[in-house]
């Protein structure tokens, strides 16, 4: 039976979610917690992109809508990344 693209995307989203979770769990108390946080921000933003473009079908939407929705998740991702970097700087 042919597996649809969106089913692969679901598997991928599940894998990324588990990766984020175990990465943070594994990094807790270790020296690379900060790097784990950066990776989680990037992975989370990528997950949002997958859902917005494929499940919400934004990739088929008119350009203005695609621009608005893509700007949103990229902005949130950037905001999180900047917050994590600034937090690391304060801690140092």
């Amino acid at each position: 039976m042919l597996i649809e693209k969106n089913t692969y995307i679901l598997f991928f989203l599940v894998m990324l979610t588990l990766l984020s979770f175990f990465l943070i769990e594994d990094a807790a108390g270790e020296g690379w917690t900060r790097w784990a946080s950066y990776i989680v921000v990037i992975v989370t933003t990528f997950k949002a992109r997958l859902i917005i473009l494929n499940f919400m079908e934004v990739k088929h939407a008119p350009k203005k809508w695609r621009l608005m929705y893509e700007t949103w998740y990229i902005s949130i991702g950037m905001m999180l990344l900047i917050a994590e970097v600034m937090t690391a700087t304060v801690n140092v």
């Binding site: 649809e4 693209k5 969106n6 089913t7 995307i9 679901l10 989203l13 599940v14 979610t17 588990l18 984020s20 979770f21 943070i24 769990e25 917690t33 946080s37 989680v40 921000v41 989370t44 997950k47 949002a48 859902i51 917005i52 499940f55 919400m56 079908e57 088929h60 939407a61 008119p62 350009k63 203005k64 809508w65 695609r66 608005m68 929705y69 949103w72 998740y73 902005s75 949130i76 905001m79 999180l80 917050a83 994590e84 600034m86 937090t87 304060v90 801690n91």
Partner: protein, 200 residues
Amino acid sequence: MRNENSKYMNENSSASGDGELSGSEGLWIFVFIDMLVYGLIFMVFLLERSRSIDLFYESQSYLNKSLGLINTLILLTSSWCVVKAVSAARLNDWVRSGRFLWCAVFLGGGFAVLKIFEYYQKLNSDIDILTNSFFLFYFFMTFVHFLHVIAGILAISILAKGIKVGSSVNRIRSVENAGLFWHYVDVLWVFVFAILYLLG
């Protein structure tokens, strides 16, 4: 997954001439406004966190990460169910579409039950919205999201119940609208899970 059935949407699509909107333009506007509001909430949370880093990280350790993980997996799967329901609706396979919608409702119900259990655990441990600023954000952000989930469950249930009633074009649009809103609820949770439970 898009096919001939979605061509009707041209009338309702934006006039830009490129691409088609899945669902009603009004709902796309509503979802985008809601996205902006949540974006502001995230920003205020991060600003507040930068002022009380230790308090936020210590408070975060009281959250049940495993429940957050299970809820994320539940919502992702329910989102996929809605994708399948939209796909079936476009093929006029209403029985299959209805089944996937009920699956999404069932999974959404599972999310709600786990969330209520999580609130119960917190309140039982004398942690509430007034405990500190982290938990103020925790309860506010997750409860507003919880209300979105309940609204989504109600809308999808009503839709699934009357899936065989009305014109085909309207029914497809209704399923697409339900899908758009439910996926948005999913995307929100993806960020809420990372911000509240993981990052720190």
